[in-house]
Each structure stands twice: as structure tokens, then as C-alpha cells.
């Protein structure tokens, strides 16, 4: 039995882990993305790793500069842990140079979105990446 109508409505929605140390951005994205997804926000890489120890979201979205920590380290960590290796990652960052983007993909991100980015566009990219990953899983099973 479902505990509440909210629990019932949450079924089938993608779960997003959003890693960002800027409180304003976190709150804005929680509101915006929360309209279509189940969003859990954390403010540090350390918190993100703790979360991932117990739960695997459908997609992880992270800034690259997370206070003194680095989102690229989080990407490398995820790709090194067998249980997390296939977790889709989107880097959402204000770093926009060629070197930044190359470093992001080398660290293992699936997508790289430069701020500012309308929540509407980010929601579309989340859905597109989710479909791509489902296709990849489907192909891997053939």
C-alpha cells in the first residue's frame, strides 16, 4: 500500500542528485526541477559521496567548483566505483573554456552544460540523457 498520494505520484519520476554549494542556485533548481523530478540537493562533494553510499539516483548533476572541492573528482570517483559506474552525469557549471570542457569529459561526465541555463533547457537535457542511457542499456542487452 502507498503511504500517501505523494508517494503514488512520485512513482516513475526520475530521481536527481543535485550537487551545488550556492544556496540560491540550489533552492532555485530544487523548485524548478522539482516540478518534473524527485530532486535531492547536497552542498558538497563529501555529502554527495555519503548520499551515493546508500542510494543511487537516476541522474547526478554537479557544479565543477563546489566550494574548495572539485566536481571532476566526483566524476572520477563515480566512474571508479562498480555500483555507480553507469550513473549518468551532467556537469552544470560556469566554467566554459575548451580546457574546462575537455577536462569534464575526460573525468567521465556524459553531458556538459554551461551556466546560465534555463531550468526548462536543463529539464529537457535530463530527459534526453535518460533516454540515451536507456538506449545504451537496451543495446548492451542485445
Amino acid at each position: 500500500m502507498f503511504k500517501s498520494i505523494c508517494e503514488l505520484l512520485a512513482l516513475g519520476r526520475l530521481q536527481i542528485l543535485f550537487v551545488e554549494n550556492d544556496l540560491n542556485i540550489r533552492e532555485r533548481m530544487q523548485r524548478a526541477l522539482g516540478q518534473g523530478f524527485l530532486v535531492e540537493c547536497v552542498a558538497s562533494i563529501t555529502e554527495a559521496k555519503s548520499y551515493l553510499d546508500t542510494s543511487v539516483p537516476d541522474i547526478l548533476i554537479s557544479e565543477v567548483v563546489v566550494g574548495p572541492e572539485n566536481g571532476l573528482d566526483l566524476c572520477r570517483y563515480i566512474r571508479s566505483v562498480p555500483a555507480l559506474r553507469s550513473l549518468p552525469i551532467i556537469l552544470l557549471t560556469s566554467l566554459a573554456t575548451l580546457q574546462d570542457k575537455v577536462a569534464g569529459f575526460r573525468a567521465g561526465t556524459d553531458d556538459y552544460v554551461v551556466k546560465p541555463c534555463e531550468a526548462y533547457h536543463l529539464m529537457a537535457r535530463i530527459r534526453l540523457l535518460s533516454r540515451i542511457k536507456r538506449l545504451e542499456r537496451h543495446v548492451a542487452m542485445i
Binding site: V102, D111, A124, R127, L128, I132
Partner: protein, 144 residues
């Protein structure tokens, strides 16, 4: 950005030099385009940022950054989000084509290709507007 001669600039990114030459020949047949080249995804990204091409033809299986990653990277930055992008790949499965389109390519062509088909496709993507592209993205992202 068009070159000084007024010709549209087409960037070809493929790690196979023979294929690059074939594409260059096919595109130049039309006499309307200046062709520049790159041989892997990272070099391709660099050339997009420095050369601001009018259209990019991208292989999928490439060293360093693959074609789908490159397409997503370009679509993820407002500065490059509306460059016409064509994937030209030897990967012919329906899933491969859908992955390319979901990544943000305007068109997906398979190798071997016919020069006329490639040139028709270039003309077609050059006519796309940002609104056309947004509608396509919305449509693809809302299907399940």
C-alpha cells in the same frame, strides 16, 4: 561564420584521413563551401571555438571525445548551441541513429554516403532556425 570569400565554412571531424578526404571532395563538389578539418573530438571542439564554422560534420567513433559527446558539449553552451550539426557515421543501427539525434545532432547520415545526399543535408541543416531546433529538442525529450 562565413569565410572572407563569402563561402560557408564546413568543419569535418573524423579520425580516418581517407574518409576526411572523401568528405572534403564531396562537399567541395558543390563549390559553395570552404572545408576545414579535425581528426578527433577534442581537436574538433577546439576548431569549432576558433573557426566558428557554419556547419559541422561529425563522426561518432573517435579518440579522446566521441561524436555524441561532442554534440552534447556543443549543444550545452549557448555560444555553440545553434551550430548546424550532422553526424556521419558507419554505425547504422536504429539505436545509434536515435542516440545521435537525442544528443542533439540535426541529422544522422550513414557511411557509405552519396555526395548529393550529404550536400542536400548540409543545405537542409543550414536552413534550420533556433526555433526549429528547440521544437525538435522538445519533441524528442517529451517522447518516451
Amino acid at each position: 561564420m562565413s569565410s572572407k570569400s563569402g563561402m560557408k565554412k564546413v568543419l569535418v571531424i573524423d579520425d580516418n584521413p581517407t574518409i576526411v578526404e572523401l568528405i572534403k571532395y564531396a562537399v567541395k563538389l558543390q563549390g559553395m563551401y570552404q572545408v576545414i578539418v579535425a581528426y578527433d573530438g577534442e581537436q574538433g571542439l577546439q576548431r569549432v571555438l576558433t573557426e566558428q564554422p557554419d556547419c559541422v560534420i561529425i563522426d561518432v567513433k573517435m579518440p579522446k571525445m566521441d561524436g555524441n559527446q561532442l554534440v552534447r558539449c556543443l549543444r550545452g553552451d549557448a555560444a555553440t548551441a545553434n551550430i548546424p550539426l550532422i553526424i556521419l557515421s558507419a554505425m547504422t543501427r536504429e539505436e545509434d541513429q536515435l542516440t545521435g539525434l537525442l544528443s542533439g545532432a540535426d541529422e544522422y547520415l550513414t557511411k557509405p554516403f552519396k555526395p548529393a545526399a550529404l550536400n542536400d543535408t548540409i543545405e537542409r541543416v543550414l536552413r534550420l532556425t533556433p526555433d526549429d531546433r528547440q521544437r525538435r529538442t522538445d519533441d524528442l525529450s517529451q517522447r518516451d
